[in-house]
């Protein structure tokens, strides 16, 4: 464990009424790391994301985010838009673009969201406003090129393919200049070719932009090839942590994915088998 971290989650518990969604979860993400969180449906993965981005407010525990080395903020109790300002960007499980806006406009909103209010400037149309517009325009084009959506700039975001929507969400998140990007099941609903594209795009985001990646994904092939380290959640608690190889060999993980197997056959499932089981659950 290094001291140069992005996220440091300690003993977080999140309840809704009587339902415990996250139970004493601790998690550590190093700066620059591609970290994945896996687990069966309902294990609390999305609740974890929502807690990390300020949408939910865990009752117990601490979450610390460090955008710059030596500088950290406490996440719990901060509003999502402030956390985004601090350097946390995310995508959603079912993509949530602004579907009545074009691809270009979607990214541009991200690029300009942290530039103050400017209502008066906008109404008067002063030179500062025009300069700001120009800056966001060039930033938007840059990002559209980066994710390969330049050709779709004027398309209404709702009519994009699943793969393109994911890339758009990533571009919109990146437009806010984050230090970490949280991806909630980016491969859901995409075809194998799109999956490969996404995998290389995610790696490119980390390598070229230096943005750390925290990933929830069901597609084991993608997770195992992309993630440097994994956490496994089940019933709201962390049941395993380690490198892809370690996780593959972990009995608890196998049991969680296959259900408590009576036959004791659960030896070492290949990644593709794990994926199949998950698809059923």
């Amino acid at each position: 464990m290094s001291d140069d971290y992005i996220f440091d989650v300690k003993n977080v518990t999140l309840r809704f009424g009587g339902v415990v969604s996250l139970n004493d979860v601790s998690l550590h993400q190093n700066r620059g790391e591609i970290l994945a969180v896996i687990g069966p449906n309902g294990a609390g993965k999305t609740s974890l994301f929502n807690s990390l981005t300020g949408v939910y407010r865990p009752q117990v525990g601490t979450i610390t985010f460090s955008g710059e080395p030596g500088h950290s903020v406490s996440v719990i109790g901060r509003k999502p838009h402030l956390l985004n300002g601090a350097g946390i960007a995310r995508t959603f499980q079912a993509s949530r673009m602004f579907s009545a806006l074009t691809t270009y406009e979607n990214v541009k909103i991200g690029a300009e969201s942290h530039k103050g209010l400017g209502a008066v400037g906008a109404m008067l149309g002063g030179p500062a406003t025009r300069r700001g517009e120009k800056l966001s325009d060039s930033r938007t084009w840059e990002l559209l090129d980066f994710v390969g959506l330049r050709a779709e700039a004027n398309t209404l975001s709702a009519s994009l393919s699943y793969g393109a929507r994911r890339r758009l969400e990533i571009a919109r998140g990146l437009a806010t200049n984050p230090k970490v990007l949280l991806l909630d099941e980016p491969a859901a609903g995409t075809n194998p070719a799109e999956k490969l594209e996404l995998t290389s795009l995610i790696r490119k985001v980390r390598d070229r932009m230096g943005v750390s990646i925290l990933l929830i994904e069901h597609d084991m092939k993608m997770v195992m090839s992309l993630a440097e380290r994994l956490y496994v959640l089940n019933f709201g608690g962390v049941i395993a942590e380690g490198t892809p190889e370690e996780i593959r060999a972990n009995d608890a993980v196998v049991v969680a994915y296959l259900g408590s197997s009576d036959t004791g056959e659960a030896a070492q499932p290949s990644p593709s088998e794990t994926e199949d089981t998950d698809a059923q659950g």
Partner: protein, 452 residues
């Protein structure tokens, strides 16, 4: 056989047409009273009346014919496939209509506006009738200003504000206050010109908008509507009862006219409506420019984002409360400004003007024209206000001014059923409604569980 026919589309159409004809007949028919509750209904059918002085005939004949024509027109419109229907046919067609290029050019299209401008400037030359000149200011131009302001709140930010009239009242009373026309002493004992009331009234209206907005704009849309309605009622009750401050139910008759006095140039607005018309027109143009700039700025895009998906908007750093309060404040400021114009032009204010129905009237202008569409709102306001003024003045088919709100209510329902995006829809709004109806996006869904 009969049962089969009753279920057929033709039967449905006959039924709807009949219902429409009956409704129109009753709406335009004579009134009844508690002692003769059926008189209005019965006479609506039986009475013979003159239609626009052209011919005299049985009322029901005319309305049945009208309903048939309307129903036929609806058929034709459906057949021609309105672009709205096309929007609903997602996703194949959507992809095509989405190819319109985004705008980086001038947000104001000078062609359309230029023609409108020339017409507006020349209007008083052609309209020489005193009543209509007066109405152009009091019933049309001021209402366009108000509709443009409410459009920022309802159209851009998607917030239903039913207390809009309160800010209009605040503007008007602030004018009366600083010009020394209220029982409450003018600030610093100086009686100012109404021009000086403009910044003061805007500041007061804006401040009350912010104060009301910060706690209430966190609420769901329908709660916000009720809370703003309650606020409007509270303001009215206050104006009616605080005789020592507001003059109570009698209000004030002593608000002075605008005067302009800089160096050698001196001009005083008087009783004549034409100078006021040009003054208001100038401000309408100013509003048009600044609001359309706002729409196409970062702020306008953020409003769209919040309207569509607040959670996603927050995740990219947009503070929803800040932008909602901003829309609220801008709306309040423009209502306050319209209040100054009205107070100075009519010299008169009374709590009777500032009722909930006034807010509803403005809402109708925005909804009819098209939420979020500036040009739509202007055209909608012109059309509705001119027609209602005309009906009020010439009382066709025994129209009574109290009946106005019955028609306005019907317009709201009809628009929501048949053309929710309005007469001249805003591009974004139209897409959004189509999306929401196709189950795309996260815009306040109904009848679906809200999963955490």
């Amino acid at each position: 056989m009969i049962k089969q026919w009753l279920g057929s589309p033709l039967a449905r159409r006959v039924g709807t047409t009949t219902a429409l004809a009956v409704l129109l007949m009753v709406m335009t028919g004579p009134s009844g009273s508690t002692s003769q509750p059926t008189a209005g209904f019965v006479q609506s059918f039986s009475e013979r009346s003159s239609f626009f002085g052209l011919f005299v005939t049985q009322r029901w004949l005319v309305w049945a014919a009208l309903a048939l024509i309307v129903s036929a027109l609806i058929r034709v419109a459906k057949w021609l496939k309105s672009d709205y229907a096309e929007m609903v046919a997602i996703p194949g067609r959507l992809a095509r209509s989405a190819q319109a290029p985004f705008q980086t050019k001038k947000p104001v299209r000078f062609g359309t506006y230029g023609v409108l401008m020339i017409v507006a400037i020349l209007l008083p030359v052609f309209v020489t009738d005193g009543f209509w000149q007066q109405s152009l200011v009091e019933q049309v131009a001021i209402f366009v200003l108000l509709a443009l302001g409410l459009n920022v709140v309802v159209g851009f930010a998607g917030l239903l504000d039913l207390g809009f009239v309160a800010f209009y009242a605040i503007g008007a009373y602030a004018t009366a206050w600083v010009t020394g026309a209220l029982p409450a002493a003018a600030p610093f004992g100086v009686h100012l010109d109404p021009f000086w009331a403009i910044p003061i009234a805007i500041a007061i209206a804006m401040a009350s908008g912010v104060l009301l907005g910060i706690p209430t704009l966190r609420l769901r849309g329908d709660y916000l509507a009720i809370v703003t309605l309650g606020f409007g009622e509270i303001v009215t009750i206050f104006l009616n009862n605080e005789y020592g401050i507001t003059g109570g139910s009698t209000g004030s008759h002593q608000v002075p006219h605008f005067t302009f006095h800089v160096g050698p140039i001196k001009y005083a607005w008087g009783l004549g409506p034409v100078p006021y018309y040009y003054l208001t027109l100038g401000f309408v143009v100013l509003f048009l420019i600044i609001f359309s700039r706002l729409e196409h700025s970062r702020v306008g895009r953020s409003w769209t984002a919040i309207r569509e998906d607040e959670v996603a908007a927050e995740s990219i750093g947009i503070n929803p409360l800040k932008y909602k309060v901003m829309a609220f404040a801008i709306g309040a400021a423009s209502a306050g400004f319209a209040g100054v114009m009205t107070a100075a032009q009519t010299n008169f204010l009374s709590p009777q003007t500032f009722l909930l129905s006034f807010s509803i009237n403005i809402l109708v202008l925005v909804i009819f024209g098209g939420m979020g569409s500036i040009i739509g709102v202007v055209c909608g306001a012109l059309l509705v206000q001119v027609v209602s003024t005309w009906m009020d003045h010439y009382t066709p088919f025994g129209f009574q001014s109290q009946d106005l709100y019955m028609y306005l209510g019907a317009i709201l329902v009809a628009m929501m059923i048949f053309r929710p995006a309005g007469l001249i829809p805003a591009r974004r709004r139209k897409r959004e409604i189509a999306m929401s109806e196709a189950g795309e996006g996260h815009m306040d869904e109904m009848l679906t569980g809200d999963t955490p």
